[in-house]
Structures are given as C-alpha cells and as structure tokens.
Amino acid sequence: MVIHDTVFVIWLLAAGPLWAAIGLFLLPSVNQGRAESEQISITTLQIAGVIGGFALGPVGVGLFYFEPALIRRTTLTAGVAITVFVSSQVLARIVDPNLPSGLWLLLAGPLWAAVAAFILPRQYRAVEANDQNVLTAAALGGFAIGPIIIGLMWKHTPKISRDWMIVLGSLGAWQIYTLFAIHNTTNPCVASPYHITYLTQQTANGVVIGAIYSLMAVGLTLIYSVQGIVSFAHGQLYMVGGYFSFYFLLHGSNILSDITGAEISINPIWGIPVAAIIVFVMGAVFERIFLKPMHEGLIERVSEYAILITFGFGFFIEYTTLAIAGPFPQRTDRFIEIRRFTLQRAQITDDFAFGPINIIGDRAFAMVVGIILIFALLYFLQRTWTGRALRATSQDRQAAAVTGINPTNMNTLSFGMGSMLAAMSGAALIPIFAWVPWVGAEMVGRSYVIVVLGGLGSVPGALLGGVIVGIVEALGAGCHPDPSRGAAYKEAFALVIFALVLLLKPTGLFGREQT
C-alpha cells in the first residue's frame, strides 16, 4: 500500500493520535456543565474525545465540545451505519436478485410509510401518549420495516426519541442500499472491488465541499437566529464576496508589483478578510436602512417584508455586478501549490482493493479555512461577550435590552456578520470555481437546504447540515443507478431531502421548537 507522505503527515496534523490526546483531556475538563445537563458521564466524554479527535481531528473535538448532545447520536449513527453497510453487503451476496423488490414493497416501502404515518399518530393520541415526532418516526419506520413498526409502536407507544429516528432512518437507508446492491450490480457504490474506497472517496468529497457549504449556511442561520428572517440576498453576497477578493488580489498585486518592480502575487487567503470587511459594511448599512424599521414595529408581516426586501437587495447586487464585472468567468490563483492529496490504489485481494482517494489541495485548504472560521464563530458566540449578547438578543430582545445590550446594534451586527460569512465563503471558493455574477444562485439554494436540515437558527446544525448535504450530493451523483443522469440531478437530491424535512420535521435536526 502506497501512501503519499503528505497525506500521512496531514492526517497526523489534522486528526490522528495527537488530536485524540487533545480530545481526551480537553473534552471532559471544559465542558462539564453542559455535559451534566445532557447527562453524559465523564468517561463517555473521554471516549468521545479520543475517537472524535482520532477520526476527525479538530472537527470532532470541536463539535463534541460545543454540542455534547452530539456524542451519543454520532456514536449511534456511526454504529448503525457500519452495521447497515456490512449487513447489506452480506445480504446482497446471498439474495437472489429477482426476488426482493416486490417483496420489499409488500413488507415495507413507501406504502407502509404512508399507512404508518396515517395510523400511528391517531393511536398515540387515543391512548393519551405524547405524539411528538410520531409522524416522522412512523413514516421512517413504515418505510424501513413496514407493518412491524405499526405493531411495535401500536402496542408499546414508546416515547419517540431522536435515537429512534436515527435507527429507523438508518434502517430505511439500509433498505435502499440493499435493494440497490442486489439489483444494480454494476454500480460502483456496491459492486466494484473498490467500492469501499469509492464510498470513502465520495464521502470525503462530500465532507470537504460540505464544510465549505456550511460556512455560507452558517451566515444564513446566524441572521435567522437573531432576526428571525431568511435573507434572500445571501447568494449574491457570496458572489460579490468572491469578486471583492478577486479585484483586491488583482489590483493589490498590480500595485505591489508597480511599487517593488518585481512580479508579486498576493495569496488569495488575504482576499478573505478583505471581502469580509467590505461585505460586512454592505450588510450592516443595508440592515440599518431597510431592516431596522421591522424591529421598531413599523412594519406588518415582518417575515414577508424581509423576504422581499432582501430579495430586491440581491437582485440589485447581482445585476450591478454583472454590469461592472461583465459576464466573463474569473478565478484567482490557488491557495496552495499542492494539486491534490492522493492515497494510491492498492490491490489487496481479488475482491478487495484500496484506493485511490483524491482530495483536491485547494479544496482541502478551503475546507480547513471554513472549519476554522465556523469554530471561530462558535467560539465567538459561546465564549465572548458580544457573542453572548447576540445569542441573548436572539432569545429575548426585551430582556436583552434590559440587561443593557443594544438590540439594534445586535441586529446590525448579526446581519453584517451573516453577510460577511457568505462573502468569506465566496472569497474562499473563488480560487476553486470559475466565478461569474450568477454563481450565487446554485449555492444559495443549497444553503437553504442546509439551514432547514440543520434547523433554522442553529449553528452546529448548519455545520452538520452542510456536511450531510455535501455527502448526499456526492453519494447521489456517485451512486445514482443511471450514471448518465446522476450528475444532472445532483442539485435535485438535496432538494428532495429539503422537501421531506420541511414536510416531516420543519424544525430540522437542531431547530428549536417554534412557539
């Protein structure tokens, strides 16, 4: 097995034993309070620290640190995912391909999902049990195990926890995957000797791009959490962030070259803060003029007003940019000179091979930037006074004002920061994608999916949502049974998830229940 040295070193730095050790000590010591309220023991925290640090490095440690509630769910999900994967592999090898799909439709599948979703909530109400989440669980369960779920939930009417959902959801995924493995034997996700590395590769693709998606979505969620509105100008702010970075680098290096006489190019990393500052100001000014009246009670139907006015703002930005920058694609230099990190292909047995796995260098860099920024934001929100004030304002404006916080400023700050995050992800991506004035459209659609999936208003939710959407898109395009259509429907996969989440659980993964 050949492993690029760079990969190994990077893994050591980015994850591996070092971070496992950090996780082991960091996690239990700092987050006792939160953990206590979530009823997580110190040992669990230590184990989570080690595993999270080893596998995901700072991402794992950070996530668990800020959101201890994730620990159990993550372990559960990982456990179930592995079981699901292995068992469907086994099943696929022993089951006759002609048999199951009809059988499955009889025993499980969408039909039973509908039946269960229809019957079970009624039963819960009839026996006076708490019917929260029952609809979702019933639909998932019906899909996964058909009538069995009805029997189970009918008789015991258990309280539906998130764990239930995870198990049932994974079971549903298992169904699909197994059917897939049985029927679609040429699909690289289930068939080739490399399919495990293929899946790893696609998951890695998803995680890398997903972390960048998150950065943008986090901005959206931040605005929502403080102001209760969804910004429809987010895509355009993302786009314009890229352009600010581009022009800064262009003119900046020209000026520098003129002064010094030597050919100087500025690393695009510097475009990120520049774009951030400019767009922060843009967002803040816009908020002051157009959104402030909303909070002063001068405007009826606030959320509709907000949709429309941010929408008009975006419209303006996009066409102004088009008029100024023109329709020709642009891109900046790379962040780093490494094209890609590669794990070479290695044949182990006839049936099993490893690799190749590729991660594009610039993307990995942008991902790291994105993750650092998100955690910086989380740190800002959780641990600094201004951050606390932002959170406080989002929870109760009046109470915040009573403690001496100026909620008007907090609104401006939140919109500015949200816009800034969009711009930063734009500036982080312009070295990676060809940039045109309409580049925000695709991205913003995805951000909506992410924030709704993660729960509007939740920053960790947006982080996780981004990664999930990234993975879903990657696996969707990578595993779609018709290879010719997989990529064309890439965006559609996320949209389907989106529609389902909105219908079944509008509060998303971490959303606060609406009151």
């Binding site: 109400r125 006076e128 049990a129 708490n130 019917d131 009826e300 229940e513």
Partner: protein
C-alpha cells in the same frame, strides 16, 4: 335554545416539560354562567385553546353536543357551536369592522343574503356601541373597542357555548358596563358562557358556578360561595386575607 352539552374528560396538555393543563374534567349541560379563575399561568387560556380546537390535547377527550371535537380544527369546533374570544385580541387588522363581522357571518351561514347579514352586523355593533366604527380598519381600534368587536363577532356565529377570555382586561368601566349587559343578554338567549377573568368582583357577581384552575389542574368546581371558602382555592389564588 339548542341543547348544550360540553363535556371534558381528563384533558391534558403538555408543552415540553410544562404540564399546562392537567387532566381537567367537567361538563356544561345547561345555559349557565360559569366563571373560570386561577393565577396567571394556571392554564385557563390553554384550556380555552384546547376546547376551541386551537390546540390539540396531549390526552383526553372533549365532546360538544354529542360530537367529539378534540383535535378537530378550530373551524369545525366553531361550527359545532363553540365560540371564543381571545385574551390578547385578534382583530383582523387590515379589514374593516364590518368585514370583521362578515367573516364569521358568512362562514356560519354561507347561504344567507349578504344584506341580511350586514343588517345583523349593524344591529350587533349598535348593541355594543361601536356602530360608528363600522367602516374603520380594525387595526385602528382601541384595546377596549377590539374586545367589543370580538364579542360582536361571536354573536354572528350564534354558538351555544361561549368562552370569554378576560373580556374586561384593558376595558374602560363604561365599556365594562356594556360587556356586562352583553353577557346577561347572551345568557338570556340560552347560551352557556364560560367567563375567564381576574376581576373577582365581576366573576362573583356574574357567575353561577366557578371553576378554579391551579397549575393546570381543576382544584374546585362549584357554587361561587362554596368555592370562595375552599381552603385549596384560598391557598392557591385568593389569598388568606380574603376571609380574615
């Protein structure tokens, strides 16, 4: 008038960890005037919401005139004959007072002639002394006038059971007088009224029967005088001094 038969059977509502209404059972079978009291947050409004279909009970059943109505949407309950007002008034702001009256009017009797309904609306507004505001946008009304408008809208519905949630809060004494008259009049029409109020005087003066809620549970149900001296009620709500 129509037979009245409202029956609540072990009705509960939880909000997350908060048991807002806790296994409440009672029934109303005749055109009585019932007062409902209890400290802030006792669950009075929540119970109203449960009865009127705005919320779905976590457990329990509610029957109205022989039909099961718990979990039914509010418009269904309203059609079954239960009308309510809101503690925090909910006038339909960018519609005129007349339009506000016509909404329940037309919803209740879609086949009626519009002119007849308008005539009736005028009549009711006159009764409530706000007929001079007929063509005013209701968002321009004062708090008390909004209360009156809500009461007026109820009359367009001709319900058999009426729940008034704090009709006196924020209302000027003169208007209170109007509401008193309204209550008497509606009662005389043979409707049951559940009156929720913090205004003890009004409650004791008006009601024939008293329900007391505390922490979501019904801790007393009986004649006002009996309830007044109930130690549990004194402890929870009226305070010791009451009988000192």
């Amino acid at each position: 008038m129509s037979d009245i038969n409202l029956l609540l059977n072990r009705v509960s509502k939880r909000f997350g960890g908060n048991q807002a209404v806790d296994h409440v059972s009672f029934s109303v079978t005749k055109p009585e005037l019932i007062g409902m009291i209890g400290p802030n947050g006792a669950g009075k409004t929540t119970l109203t919401n449960l009865m009127s279909g705005m919320l779905k009970p976590t457990t329990g059943t509610i029957y109205l005139n022989g039909r099961r109505i718990d979990g039914h949407p509010a418009y269904d309950v309203t059609r079954a004959g239960l009308g309510r007002t809101f503690q925090i008034t909910r006038a339909l702001g960018r519609m005129t007072v007349l339009e506000n009256m016509m909404v329940p009017g037309l919803a209740h009797r879609p086949r009626a002639r519009r002119l007849d309904l308008e005539e009736r609306a005028h009549e009711i507004l006159g009764l409530l002394t706000i007929d001079h505001l007929t063509n005013e946008y209701s968002r321009a009304l004062s708090g008390g006038q909004r209360k009156l408008l809500e009461l007026g809208r109820l009359l367009m519905l001709e319900p058999s059971v009426i729940i008034l949630d704090e009709p006196f809060a924020g209302v000027h004494p003169r208007l209170q007088e109007t509401i008193y008259q309204y209550i008497h009049r509606v009662h005389e029409d043979g409707k049951a009224i559940i009156l929720i109020s913090h205004d003890m005087d009004a409650v004791f003066e008006l009601s024939h029967r008293l329900l007391v809620l505390h922490h979501g549970a019904l801790i007393a149900d009986g004649a006002p005088q009996a309830v007044r001296s109930d130690p549990a009620v004194i402890e929870a709500y009226l305070g010791h001094d009451e009988d000192d």
